[in-house]
Symmetry: C2
Subunit: 381 residues, 2 copies
Amino acid sequence: MVSGDAETFYRKRSLHSRLQAIYLVRCDARSIEERARAIAVEQSVEMPVAAIADDRVRSHIVGRVEGISERKAGLFEIRISLAAETVGRDPGQLINMLFGNTSLHEDVELADVALPNDLIEYFGGPRQGVHELRRRVGARARALTSSPLKPQGLAPADLARLAEDFAQAGIDYIKDDHGLAEQAYSPLAARLEAVAAALRKLEQKNGQAARYVPSLSGDLDTMRSQIAAAKEAGLDTVMIAPMIAGLSNFHRLVRENPTVAFIAHPTMAGAARISPPLLLGKLFRMLGADAVIFPNYGGRFGYSPDTCRALAHAALDRREGLRPTVPVPAGGMTTDRVREMLDFYGADVMLLIGGALLEARENLRAATSAFVAEVHRYAYG
Amino acid sequence: MVSGDAETFYRKRSLHSRLQAIYLVRCDARSIEERARAIAVEQSVEMPVAAIADDRVRSHIVGRVEGISERKAGLFEIRISLAAETVGRDPGQLINMLFGNTSLHEDVELADVALPNDLIEYFGGPRQGVHELRRRVGARARALTSSPLKPQGLAPADLARLAEDFAQAGIDYIKDDHGLAEQAYSPLAARLEAVAAALRKLEQKNGQAARYVPSLSGDLDTMRSQIAAAKEAGLDTVMIAPMIAGLSNFHRLVRENPTVAFIAHPTMAGAARISPPLLLGKLFRMLGADAVIFPNYGGRFGYSPDTCRALAHAALDRREGLRPTVPVPAGGMTTDRVREMLDFYGADVMLLIGGALLEARENLRAATSAFVAEVHRYAYG
């Protein structure tokens, strides 16, 4: 390939296909213009622009500062456009170009991104989305319910008994705690055998379908074989931590498994100084998350109601032709907050309660039934 | 598998194999004990301890607060031990257990970790390390030199010409800019063909071996085929961004390619509120990075000299039986800082200068020769 090929490439493709990235920068007013230019350069050519001899690179590839506005004293919103060609179609390269080196600056946050339509279409969003997650558990219009298998350290048979209790009480999605992986005391294969069998027996008995959602871990190959084992056990839903798996690997699994529903977990995602509505709502959805767990306001974590509302909106809104992703507010929720959460989020939500139910110990099933009843009552009167 | 199996497992394994994690927490003195306990629980069982019926889980799996000390007013160092069993041998699960959900708390930083020896041995550290990186380019005792191919947007032939200039000037390792991926204007296969051919021709002519270091991108399978193509082109060194690839996938590639040297790039690593010496120095090394690029003090990024010194120390120190990882301070370095950097880091270092050389434009080769000469002069007088 010689220089001419690159030239042809630039001519053939729309020259104007650009990503728009919005950053929040803590900075004094005198320095913000220089700072904005520096970020535009860092996230594109990463070298002094004056030293770039190539006209095409200078005019198309160098990031452009499209706007600067002061949000409040010392906090600026800057909009930078980046050539879509620099990203190609790789989710890892997308995050690399959006925030890679700039993530090393503690005073910058990636606040939002607008992507070209063809890239959004290529990523494709959730393969199932809220409607299919509802259909699978026979919940026509109500909010979905979920509970976690924990604590880690229990043997598969103990986790299976817990799953039985949750299922008997009417929980829709019974998920692994995100700490469950391939530990020697409870490897995934043994969990699949014990939990899936217990739930199958229950389903045969009372016709009720509770979904077991095992957690994926390890490298891409390990996750592939975990999904294969889950399918083998009759399952169709898995949980994944995209920031640990790597965004490219997450998306690869989504593409390879079009009938599987993926519930995204936020572990290691909060540290990234990327706005939660963008990362957990918009980006995880775009890459195929059918549901996304996040720390609800008023729980163990510090997200505000505004952040949670924006995150749910990004997961659900209809703008981009993607299926809606189910928001799963979690992190220390309790049954007495069910009505408030449903008032806040509406019915397109999955409520996840764990610790508060487990605290009931020998009354776990009754406590879980009360949680389920509260959700059903809200929907059906 | 039934409960009894887990019991046997606990009996058979050392019950005392624990990870020690150190966190820095901004917090008032009245709340720090409760806060420390909450982190210990979050990073282990993630549920109210009182609700755990299983004795083994309560005594072995629940994280333990091992110490709390005040570093300065409102900043506490807490030490928490976690059962090694919860991690198994998966690097992704390691970071999940060390910092996963706690990463969602903005006032907590993961400062350091001590791992059990068998886990360190299993991960195995660099397969090449500083001695082999030196040997490959015939640098007996001096610091190594490196320059990047950039800007992205150039065609492979242009990048090859740039590589030729760097090689003629005596640079040891010529690396892709971390923005180079599988872009249509310069996919990796075309870069390998153009750059590797140019360097081979030079090597035949003047016997000097410059190493081309292509950058990996995409999912695990894509990276595998990129490494295969690089080997095919006669290369033995690649660059990878572990925080984008996912730690488990990074380590998988290291295991699968014992003769390849891996240079780790910090993109998306700085945002993680994990101390840079720990993440870039200790953890990347443990997982197999032969060299690690990081933002040097006094450049475009905000790392302090202390942070850089600690990072280099973590990459190089002899304590854990691992090969040393070459520190690569970068991010806006210039030739007039070579002496100062070598005074600071010593000879076990790779100096990476890019933009400052490219700014010389038509005098690029002379500027690069001056950089190389400065490094050689320091070592050999």
